[in-house]
Amino acid sequence: MLVEAGHFALALALGLSLIQFIVPLWGARAKDPVLMAVAPASALAVLACIAFSFLALTFAYVNSDFSVLNVVQNSHSAKPLIYKISGVWGNHEGSMLLWVLILALFGGVVALSRNSIPMRLQANTLAVQASITIAFLLFILTTSNPFTRVIPAPLEGQDLNPLLQDPGLAIHPPLLYIGYVGFSISFAFACAALIDGRIDAVWARIVRPWTLGAWAFLTLGIAMGSYWAYYELGWGGWWFWDPVENASLMPWLAGTALMHSTVVMEKRDALKVWTILLAILTFSLSLLGTFLVRSGVLTSVHSFAVDPERGTFILGILILFIGGSLALFAWRAPMLKQGGLFAPVSREGALVLNNLFLASACATVFIGTLYPLALEVLTGEKISVGAPFFNFTFLPLIVPLLLLLPLGQTLAWKRGNFLGTAQRLYAVFGIALLATLAMFALEHGGPVAAPLGVGLGLYLVLGSLNEIVTRSWSKGTPMAVAWRKARGLPRSAWGTAIAHAGVGLTVIGVAATAWGVEAIGSLKPGERLNAGGYEVRLERVVPRIEANYREDVALLTVFGSGRELGTIETMKRLYVTRGMPTTEAGIMTVGLGQIYASIGEIQADGSIGMRLYHKPLVLLIWIGSLVMAAGGALSLTDRRLRIGAPARAKAVPPTAVPAE
């Protein structure tokens, strides 16, 4: 019953989205505040319906209701509760439902911030937002209904893919989707501005927090996915240039560019047309990602042709929204007035360069991901584009950007002085250079890339923080005064410095992977394997049986510089229902590095294949990403971005919460 109600709520949401699409658009044209006021009301109603629908499906999962096809295919009564819940979005239908839920959530938040957004802009934005909701609800209802029943209901489910039975699944997709879908708000604002034919610094000020928030979530989502792949796939890689990863990297690169160009637009009223285009492109790339993954076109062009219904539908959505918004752009953009002037050497100029490099990097990932598909469709020729291609083309575009980053951050707005700026960074250059030379001296002919990369990372970290120092301290300033000044700097300045320092940390982590050591061997109990100053001893291999899988566990003792550091376990698991084997890596963290072991087949003579890695500083890759996102979040709390904050603060009644 609840399942049918959930299905019905989804259909109801479709009807309400139609209202949310048509009425406000009409109202904005007719300048009728009553019609425009329909927008927030219907957005909230849509949110309520989709949330109910999502809860209904979650309820079916938690109760293991095997009369629902989706639950049968992706759940099992013996599965732990957390994986029953996260299993809701561990499949195609449920993940699309999560997608529209987040879309509606964002719509709801826009609806509630009516004090800070001009009414016409809000009405138009919510209408554009509704058009996306309509498309995706139609997609779910016609091709991917999660509420389909099966009669007779089977007694047991087919279980969730074992790789997905991991806390990673509970966190990774929601974060990623909040990022992806968050850009739909920037997109909707951009389209609304085009419809209205008006765009100014106020627009940028309203849109910037949404972009910033979406970007921070996408950063976390990608980092989380990368770490998940790292520990779950068992061969120690953290980024594979897989089309599916590229699908999330493209909106991230475009979103990063958007975030920066919005700053220029807000502060200097320049780059308007470009910013609008970027907002459209960023969400288009999110849609493209959805298409690439959901249509099955990646596995092969042929699998797309075999099950064309979903693929064709999403392709249609893609063409409609990308084509439509670009057409709108081509039609209306020439009417937008250009503003703020600036000299080539200025903060604006530096941000133009930032956008240029990021857009080129994004185009590189785009062509590398789609070229093989296009070539096969057009000529039938099959080529592969993998990690070697991307490393070769992507790095030359990113390294110059990183080299310019601290300089750009230090340049003045409007008209900067390049030499003066470089002077402020002398100390930073010096320290980074000395550190690089020291590393070269210490490693005695080790990999060349590592010291250079770590030096670059160091330069980024110091260069970013240097901005805070030079803005609050000069020779002769007492520390107390400097500290007070630093604390008085706007939160967005701190956020920028911290996010950029995060980039530096990630660069250090990535570069240090070149120092990693790998050892492969086959061990019998009692034997040892050595990798880069660390050693493991295989103690024994024991079988273990859990509720939904059984496993062989290898117990390893880790030694480092002659003493015992502890034990780690690495497993080969067999998930019974699906008969699917997985490898669980054993990881020990030492400082910022990790010792990583995974086992292979047990051989006839009783020995066991083992891969052992020492990965120095590897955690910095993800710590850096967390710091980046934290910088974004800090920037989000800047007073300037909390429009209407003083009014809201006054409206808060004296606390009504009872004491504990």
């Binding site: 993998g386 294949g609 891969r611």
Partner: protein, 152 residues
């Protein structure tokens, strides 16, 4: 979810995830290093976007052994790659060769960068100058003001 599907596809084609087996490793470390380097640039043909170095499909294992066999026989790196391309087509290379069929692929990054730079430059030039010099009338007005101040 994107990642999930990749994982799914990878799993469909590979049993447990364990690539280079201990018994495959060559005794000569220099040769083994070359073998690993070549392997990481070759696609496991039955997998989705995995190199033979990462994959543990049977085919990947066969290819890894083949690469090592050729290296032991004294082939150069290029010869090994050519040998595999002859057998399996260009599909086996994870970094496609530069040719007419991949022109657009290889040139796009540079093309976007250059065209973007030109576009930005032109857009900048089309705008009026940031600060134009004062015309004669303005200069005179300014001089008058300055003179008046000096006179005080």
């Amino acid at each position: 979810m994107r990642f999930v599907l990749a994982v799914l596809a990878a799993l469909l084609f590979s049993g447990s995830v364990f690539a280079v087996q201990p018994d495959e490793v060559l005794r000569d470390p220099a040769l083994e290093k070359r073998a690993r380097e070549i392997s990481s640039g070759l696609r496991c043909l039955v997998c989705q976007n995995q190199s033979i170095d990462d994959s543990d499909a049977q085919l990947a294992k066969d290819l890894r052994l083949l690469v090592r066999e050729r290296l032991v026989a004294g082939d150069t790196d290029a010869q090994v790659r050519d040998f595999l391309v002859q057998r399996y087509g260009e599909f086996v290379l994870l970094k496609p060769t530069f040719g007419t069929h991949t022109l657009l692929l290889w040139l796009t990054p540079a093309l976007v960068l250059v065209l973007g730079a030109i576009g930005a430059f032109v857009a900048m030039r089309r705008r009026p100058r940031l600060a134009t010099a004062l015309d004669a009338e303005e200069q005179k007005a300014l001089d008058d003001l300055l003179k008046r101040d000096e006179g005080v």
